[in-house]
Amino acid sequence: MIRRLGACVLQLAAISFIAFYLFSVAPGDFYSAERLSPQLEGRSVDQWRAAKGLDEPWPERYVLWCESALRGDFGTSLAYGVPVARLIAPRILKTALVLMPSLALGWALAFSLAAWAARRRDRILEPVMSVAGMSPEVILVSLLLWLAVWAGAPLAGAWLPIAGLTAIVVPLVFLHAFSALTTAREANFVRIARSRGVPRTRLWTRFILPAAANPLVSLLGPSLATAVGSSLVIEAMTGWPGLGPLFLEAVQARDYDVVQAVVVILAAALTFLNLAADLLLYRIDPRIRLRV
């Protein structure tokens, strides 16, 4: 287990480094915009930069960041002047508040659809889903908005981002679940079991679903990754007070402590979900658990 965790930590370190480097290559910094204000002298802007240590070369800044990060301090937001942790904590909760339901909903919906389609060898749903899977979030949300107003639904609250996210998750999961189930139900041992007169429900619960499980379990991580990525945009558009608006704002404003923190936290979440998925795989698949 230790080794495994070690690998994860190493990965996080690598990600934080790459992110920080990429950040440093982007031109402009947090105070670029202030230079444009006629009421401000260039000197004062320079003083601000110096005060925040923005004029140091990026390797030093990265080292500093690592030190404080290891102490559990993710630095202070340039824009907000408060510790990043305080800034992010409430928003993570909000994001989770839309992520979890939409993932659950999306999986449930997609899976039952896929099972239905697989059972009656449906041919239409698949292409439809794969087209739906392509549509970018920005467009999806604005169409949703349109629908909502047209239907006179309330626009405040969580349902709008949840709906948007679900719409992102469903096609992704459906396509995988569908192909997994169709392959499983054609599997040799399933056909034999069927010929042995195993009742349909047993056939699905004991034979088909376990066989289809592996690809789906390994989809957990990617599906979360996609959902998180989309949630950033969707939250920003629907004005949901999660990480999304903060992150995009911070990206544009070059508020690097915030960006760095968000990236690392999300990356960590994903890494450990993948780990969990592997653990699950290890539990449910005897071929992995019990090697000869």
Binding site: A33, P38, L40, G81, L145, V149, L155, G239, G242, L248
Partner: protein, 538 residues
Amino acid sequence: MSDLVRRLAFLLGVLCATLPAQPQHGGVLHVAQRAEPKTFNPVLALDAPSRDVLRRIHADLISIDRTTQTTVPGLAESWTISKDGKVYRLKLRKGVRFSDGEPFTADDVVFSFALYLDEKIKSPQRDLLVINGRPIECRKIDPLTVEFLLPQPYAAAERLFDSLAMLPKNILERPWRAGRFNEAWTLATPPQQIAGLGPFRLKQYHPGERVVLERNPYYWKPERPYLDSVDFQFLPDEDTQLARFTAGGVDILNRLSPQAVQFLESRGAALADLGPGLEYNFLCFNLSPGSPNLALFSQQDLRQALSLAVDRPAMARIVYRDRAAPLWGNVTPGNKLWYSADLPHPARNVGAAKQLLKKANPSGKPIAFSILVSASSAERVRMATMLQSDWKELGIEVNIVTLEFRSMLDRVLNTRQFDTCIMGLGGGDADPNSEMNVWLSSGGTHLWNPNQQHPATDWETEIDGLMHRQMITLDYKARKAIYDRVQSIVADRSPMIFLVSPHVVVAQREVGNFRPSILDHQTLWNADELYLIPGKHR
């Protein structure tokens, strides 16, 4: 059907808004805002969202009446100016209290200015209060009188006091002395620890979601404000703002995009078109020594030719759906005091432009350059697109380079690696003094060739002289004459090609005493007078 109902409701709303109805107390005003405030500390606030909220919480000594654009008494009920214009003596109102009940005295004023001028704090307002490198001095005469000493005569100095929040010494002095002022009054500070002199005081802050202000019981104006509270909702996406507005969750919208205006029109919403604002959009040539195309752009004929070939009315029509004024100078028609009407407005003339171009480029070798524009401003990208097709008729190949905002600023203000760029200025005050840095050749925002040791051209020298003169001229008419001259020089030499000035358009639902203005804050500047028209709000 429902549309008809909406129109009727709208008409009714207009009636109620126009009839001298008796203002009603109570109610919550919902306002949509693009971004959330970054701090509750007015001394450190850099960004518009913070200021928009803070100015409802705090008050200034002398304010600028947004409708007349002239100064009116604020916390100071009267003031006198010495003959030489160097000494300002302000008389404070009696019995004014902070929102926590503490009395407001001259000490607070002196303290506040000490904060703004403190080098360590590095307040963004500091540069305004430093004239030619020498700060304004503030003295207490008696508990209700303060005196300001200017290092030199400074025209319309009283305008400087506008939106300079007066702060409570008893709360902020300790952190300041402890050198921890920058941690005071952040978003993490509990609301009751924040006190101001404005009509409202902070009630709740929901991170990323909304800021709620409540009525300040100690507000100095009797019977004010009418509203119980103001609710700022943070909606980054305009479409969502509009959806909420039409659904009734938001009462006031600011800074509407052309598309949004058109949409609201089609929905029959109560729009107020205030005509052109102070923002002027322009194309700026890069005339710095290191400019990639200096030889080309330093030819005035070329610049004028390009300016002549621009179809400004079409730009106003297409980019802003006719809600914009074509510009030939840097002062917009919206700027009542400083707009110079007698500036020439040559119509588009490709023929004449071609003539000029021949002079500038006798060899007739193909001319090509790029326009730098921020991708985040759809309007300016559109302007670039139109310029490109306008100038194609002169046989000029223009390459549009859209960059993410800060990358673009880095090129324009830092590396200076660009041919031309499209930008806009004029967010601040209407007074010329607020734009010294744009027109002085030594200025950091002298965009075509910033931070010069010595003016590169004689006309820039002249502008420098004029700007310095107008700054110390106290008589308005004389100043106006000087500033008109500046405008005509810039227009004629056209180091910038002025394009259009968008109208300020705002929307509201059944808000009484709604008197929007083109100056910040466009709709809430008179928040203490706003009230909700009864019977229309859920």
